[in-house]
Amino acid sequence: MGGHLNINHLMFLGQGALWTVGLSVIALIGGGIVGFVIALARISPLKSVRIASAVYVQLIQGTPLLVILFLGYFGLAAIGLKVSPLAAAGASLTLYVAAYLGEIWRGCIQSVPKPQWEAAEGLALSRTQRMTKVILPQAIRIATPPTVGFMVQIIKNTSLASVVGFVELMRSGQIVNNSLFEPFAIYAIIAVTYFAMCYPLSLFSQKLEQRMGRGRSTLAPA
């Protein structure tokens, strides 16, 4: 108890911030890979695949991330796997991010103009060729601004990993607070740090959207 905020505390918070970035990157890559599969599954010619992926998205989007994190943390333990908080948080965030990115990307793929699909078919391209050579290169351009925008959500959502004991920025703030008990000052520092990470991405996303000449999407999980 007692003492003042010193350089060691700040170093500790800085380390936490690095783990926040690390966990965000894990969630983005993992969620991106699974999300891409989800996006393709949502527009699959097979009805059963479409329904299964739609159910997945509905279930994940109808459940709070906090509950998914608890399920990942306790669920993996319940089936006998001993997992670190990092693995549990990484897996849970991957599942969560995949559901949202999958829906965003499905929208982007489907917003490639219809004649492009028809022209590719008319040129006798196979389904795979049509996707990789015609549709996806255009969809990626459309998908870039909302994906950068969603990265802000990912960074903010990693703060919830603190509740399963993963020491990222939020958790390291709580630990420092336990020794100093100056909650308002410490959480203000944490808030400023998150803002410094997120705001440049928000601005970048807005810039990209303006360049694309589209309205900005404001929907976001809090």
């Binding site: 109808g62 459940t63 709070p64 906090l66 306790f74 903010k156 919830l160 808030a191 998150y194 928000s202």
Partner: protein
């Protein structure tokens, strides 16, 4: 690798789950109504010619949208406490959720305001409607009608995000789950049940907003398109 699930042991706590779900809905309802008001005011403020008010509203929206809800809740919780104000966890949770969803609502409402064609307002001026009448009938109501689906999604996300309030011991659904799992040692079963309850709550909320939309926007019901 053996997984033994014992749902009955957890399900017999259903009155607690029910109470938690009701509190979650209460939190969501209060924060939705207050946040919609705050967000609309912030969106109006951002559109004014007064640079100070517009700047303040922009700063509010950007600050909230770029920091995690968990941090905001702790700041409100400890901020009020350090001012010597004592409130219940429920009040603090409603305040924090309102501030949070207000910022997202403001962005959605701003998009709605920007989508109102200039000519529509000029036509209203030509018909000698008062400023207040123009604001209410020509700008605000059509804007809400336009962005209603986006608002609906945002408020459902707010309900889900209210799970974070368990961290300041507001006794909502997730807090109830945390308590039950520490009492029964049946964590996996408890959180599966809670996940199902949240999915049901979000479906109920979506259905509720859909029904409300039918009542509020008769034009949309008849024509199938917003104004």
């Amino acid at each position: 690798m053996s997984l033994q699930l014992d749902f009955p042991a957890v399900l017999e706590r259903w009155p607690s789950f029910l109470a938690g779900a009701v509190l979650t809905l209460e939190l969501a309802a209060f924060a939705t109504v207050l946040g919609a008001l705050l967000g609309t005011l912030a969106a109006v403020g951002r559109g004014t010619h007064n640079a100070l008010i517009a700047g303040a509203c922009k700063a509010y929206v950007e600050t909230i949208r770029n920091t995690p809800l968990l941090v905001q809740i702790f700041l409100v919780y400890f901020g009020l406490a350090s001012l010597g104000l004592k409130f219940s966890a429920f009040t603090v949770a409603v305040a924090a959720l309102t501030i949070n969803v207000g910022a997202y609502t403001a962005e959605i409402m701003r998009a709605g305001f920007e989508a109102i064609p200039r000519g529509q307002i000029e036509a209203a001026e030509g018909l000698a409607l008062s400023r207040l009448q123009i604001y209410w009938h020509i700008i605000l109501l059509p804007a809400i009608e336009k962005v209603y689906p986006a608002l609906t999604s945002q408020f459902v996300l707010l309900m889900l995000a209210s799970s974070v309030c368990s961290q300041i011991s507001a006794e909502e659904l997730t807090a109830v789950a945390n308590y039950i799992q520490s009492d029964t040692y049946r964590a996996f079963e408890t959180y599966i049940i809670v996940a199902v309850l949240y999915v049901i709550l979000s479906l109920v909320m979506r259905a509720g907003f859909w029904g409300l939309g039918l009542v509020l926007f008769p034009r949309r019901r008849r024509l199938g398109t917003p104004l």
